[in-house]
């Protein structure tokens, strides 16, 4: 599903954020990405979302070199990946329902079909009863679940998450991770950047460890 081939990323010509990354992620796999802050986790995800382009090497997603995408094709590429952000990136001027419906609105989905899928996604994260609420009325954990619902509402084949449990207590973090495992179980490729090592160790999935922009360990699920 994902292939990094000798990928390097420099900022401003000097600072090397990522160096010679070379790994593959199979379709339907669930992978954790760990490392200290500044190790390059976010840079790696930004490359995958094509917010940035690699300085060296190439990245293949579903067999396509994403660096070769014309900038007019990039939005359509992004629609195929669901992204969960550490700070949720919810829009505070609209209801939970409309936040989750946003990707479908962008794709021009038919409203009745959209409503069905939004409710299905909200049901999956256990927030169907809050669909009319505004994000500000929700707790941090609930906001993160709304972010997840928005990421999965158009059934992406690849789900990326950047520190999805960053600000949550252990119980809530475990709940969130269980959600990701559910999506993994139905065949979605999932990649989660996290520094919550204790939680990752409990979950037993493949783990890529980054340090100073290099891949220092690739541990298969035990």
């Amino acid at each position: 599903m994902i292939a990094f081939e000798h990928v390097g990323k420099r900022y401003g010509g000097r600072f090397e954020a990522l160096a010679n990354l070379d790994f593959r992620v199979r379709r339907g796999e669930m992978v954790f990405l760990t490392g200290h802050s500044g190790a390059g986790k976010s840079s790696l995800l930004r490359l995958l979302m094509r917010l940035e382009r690699p300085s060296r090497g190439r990245i293949l997603v579903a067999g396509h070199d994403i660096d070769r995408l014309h900038h007019s094709q990039v939005p359509f590429y992004r629609r195929q990946i669901g992204v969960v952000f550490q700070d949720h990136q919810l829009l505070f001027d609209r209801s939970i329902y409309h936040n989750v419906a946003l990707p479908l609105e962008i794709q021009g989905a038919e409203p009745r079909e959209a409503a069905r899928r939004v409710r299905a996604a909200l049901d999956k994260v256990g927030l169907l009863h809050r669909e009319k609420a505004l994000p500000i009325e929700l707790s941090g954990g609930e906001q993160q679940r709304v972010g997840i619902a928005r990421a999965v509402v158009n059934k992406p084949s690849l789900l990326l998450a950047d520190e999805p449990t960053g600000n949550l207590d252990p119980q809530l973090s475990a709940d969130i991770m269980r959600l990701f495992e559910d999506f993994h179980r139905i065949g979605t490729t999932v990649m989660i950047a996290s520094h919550d090592l204790a939680l990752i160790a409990r979950l037993r999935h493949r783990t890529l460890r980054l340090s100073e922009g290099r891949l220092v360990a690739d541990e298969e699920a035990s």
């Binding site: 917010l51 629609r79 990136q89 829009l91 962008i106 021009g108 079909e113």
Partner: protein
């Protein structure tokens, strides 16, 4: 296609059919048109001020254009009175003058002739100048008979050509044409047109700037929203759309206000203009915008608003990059 594949497509549902995409596109247009109108109404005072600024920028060139339109009507009326005066030789008697008038009337390009005999000319001269006493002291009538000719084609070039042709005729002493002031008026009208066009371009630019600045602020206010929708796969067209609609609404509102201002101003000025024109013996009235004029003004202002928004959003879209 088997039933099996269609259910699989339904399960993935990544790409809607082209008809569905077209309907979705229309739906988004409708939604954004309404949404941007609602946003404008929510801040009705500041929206109104923006529209008023646009209206003021539009009123000046539009008003000048209307004035020029009125002047053109006046111009046409003046062309009607473009005449040549043919002075006959002094020795020509009344009988011969009659024959010359007939010859003149038969000449190409002559629409109408009117003979002014030497005596009539003298009487007119005395009346016009009030110099009865001084002229009465003259030994004889020094004025020749003359013929006033109205040409078929009142344009200065044609009149000049006609005068050249008439000058060679027997019994004609001189052909006078007073084109200088007509030409001057034509040049003034041309000057007015150019000033009007220049002002229209300048103030059109003003409208672009007003809308551009307003939309720029709206883009800043919705920066986070733009970043988020870009992250989840919105195209530039999708991001631009609500702002383009608000620009168009601003333009339309400004255009409507401009129409209102022009109508009010026209009514306010109508009485003194009519009085002034009457004192010159002309029937000049300031023409109103009318249906076509209003439609053109509204169309132009809407287009300008849209364009201003497009420039502002495109400039800022390039700068906004998701974190």
């Amino acid at each position: 296609m088997s039933r099996d594949t269609s259910t699989r497509r339904g399960a993935r549902a990544q790409r809607p059919s082209s008809g569905g995409r077209w309907r979705g596109w229309l739906r988004h247009h409708r939604a954004m048109a309404l949404d941007s109108a609602r946003r404008l109404l929510r801040h009705s005072l500041s929206s109104l001020l923006t529209m008023l600024a646009i209206a003021i920028a539009l009123v000046l060139p539009a008003g000048l254009w209307l004035t020029l339109d009125g002047a053109r009507l006046l111009d046409a009326e003046l062309d009607e009175s473009a005449t040549l005066t043919v002075y006959l030789q002094e020795r020509v008697g009344d009988a011969e003058a009659g024959r010359i008038v007939e010859a003149l009337a038969a000449h190409d390009g002559v629409a109408d002739t009117r003979l002014i005999t030497a005596d009539e000319g003298m009487a007119e001269f005395q009346q016009a100048l009030g110099l009865e006493d001084a002229l009465a002291r003259l030994p004889g009538n020094p004025l020749p008979a003359s013929v006033v000719i109205r040409p078929d084609d009142p344009s200065p070039a044609a009149v000049k050509r006609l005068a050249g042709g008439l000058e060679d005729m027997a019994g004609v002493e001189e052909v006078r044409l007073d084109l200088a002031w007509l030409e001057r008026l034509g040049q003034l009208a041309e000057l007015g047109r150019r000033v009007g066009l220049g002002l229209a371009v300048l103030f059109g630019l003003g409208v672009l700037l007003v809308v551009g600045n307003t939309v720029r602020l709206a883009v800043e206010n919705r920066r986070q929203e733009i970043e988020v929708v870009t992250l989840i796969g919105a195209t530039h067209a999708f991001v631009r759309r609500p702002f383009l609609y608000s620009g168009a609404w601003y333009g339309l509102g400004g255009g409507a206000l401009a129409c209102l201002l022009l109508t009010l101003g026209g009514n306010w000025l109508a009485t003194p203009i009519a009085a002034l024109a009457a004192s010159y013996g002309a029937g000049f009235t300031l023409p109103g915008l009318g249906f076509a004029g209003s439609a053109i003004l509204l169309g132009c202002s809407t287009l300008l608003g849209w364009l201003g928004a497009w420039i502002a959003v495109s400039r800022h879209l390039a700068q906004i990059r998701p974190r």
